[in-house]
C-alpha cells in the first residue's frame, strides 16, 4: 500500500506533506510577527495589520514551496510586491470547459495561479490550497489565544 515512488507519494499522503509544512509555517510566521512587532510604531496600525496579513500568505507559500502552482503564484506575487488581493464579489462565469464546471471560473479567481489551470489541475490545486489556508488560520488563532490569555 505504501508507495515508495516519490511521484505518487504526494497524491497518496496529502496529510503527511502538511505535517512537515506546519512547522515551517509556524516558525516563518512567528519570526515575521515578532519582526513586525519590533519595527512598527503605534501610528502605523493599518500598515501593521497589512504586514501581518502578508506574512500569513508568505508563510503559507514558503512552507508549500515550489511544488505547487498556487504557492509558486503566491511567491511570485509576494516577490513582485504586488498587492495581494482576492475577489470578494461573485463574478459572472465566462466560457467554461464543461457545463458542470461553471463555478470553476469563479474558483479560478480565488486560487492563486488559477487562471492558467485547466479544470483538473484547478481541482487538485484547490484542495491543497484549502489545506494550507485552514492550517494557517488555525495557526493564527492559536497565536491569538496564547497572547491574549
Amino acid at each position: 500500500m505504501e508507495s515508495k515512488s516519490s511521484t505518487t507519494g504526494n497524491r497518496d499522503n496529502p496529510n503527511r506533506n502538511l505535517h512537515g509544512s506546519k512547522t515551517m509555517m509556524a516558525s516563518h510566521f512567528l519570526r515575521a510577527l515578532f519582526r513586525i512587532q519590533q519595527t512598527s510604531t503605534s501610528s502605523s496600525s493599518a500598515g501593521r495589520s497589512r504586514r501581518i496579513r502578508r506574512a500569513a500568505y508568505a508563510s503559507m507559500a514558503y512552507s508549500a514551496g515550489t511544488r505547487r502552482a498556487w504557492s509558486r503564484a503566491l511567491l511570485r506575487k509576494l516577490r513582485s510586491r504586488a498587492r495581494l488581493r482576492f475577489p470578494r464579489r461573485l463574478s459572472r462565469a465566462a466560457t467554461p470547459q464543461r457545463r458542470d464546471m461553471d463555478q470553476a471560473q469563479v474558483l479560478r479567481k480565488l486560487v492563486p495561479g488559477g487562471p492558467s489551470m485547466d479544470d483538473c489541475k484547478l481541482l487538485e490545486e484547490t484542495a491543497d490550497y484549502i489545506r494550507f489556508l485552514t492550517t494557517q488560520v488555525r495557526l493564527m488563532q492559536t497565536v491569538m489565544d496564547s497572547i491574549s490569555s
Binding site: Q37, S49, V106, D119, M144
Partner: protein, 93 residues
Amino acid sequence: MSSRRARSRQSTSSSRITDEQINDLVSKLQAVLPEARIRGAERVSAARVLQETCNYIRSLHREVDDLSERLSELLATTEASSAQAAIIRSLLK
C-alpha cells in the same frame, strides 16, 4: 505508473477530461470542506461542491484578514517579550 501520468496529461491538454477524473477530484475536494457546508457525506453535484468551495475559500480569506487585524491590535498593546513567551509556551504544550 508513468504511462498513466502520460495519459492523463495527454487528455487534459486536449481538453478531453473524463467524467471519472472530474468526479474523483471533486470528491477529494469535498473531503477538505468542513462537513457543515455539505450535509453529510452524501454525493452532491460537482456544481454544488464547487459553489461551496468558493464560499469556503472566501470565508477563509476573510478570516485571515480579520485575524491579521486582531493580531495587529494585540501586538500593539502587548510587550514583545511576554508575547513571545506566551506563544512558545502554548506551542510546546
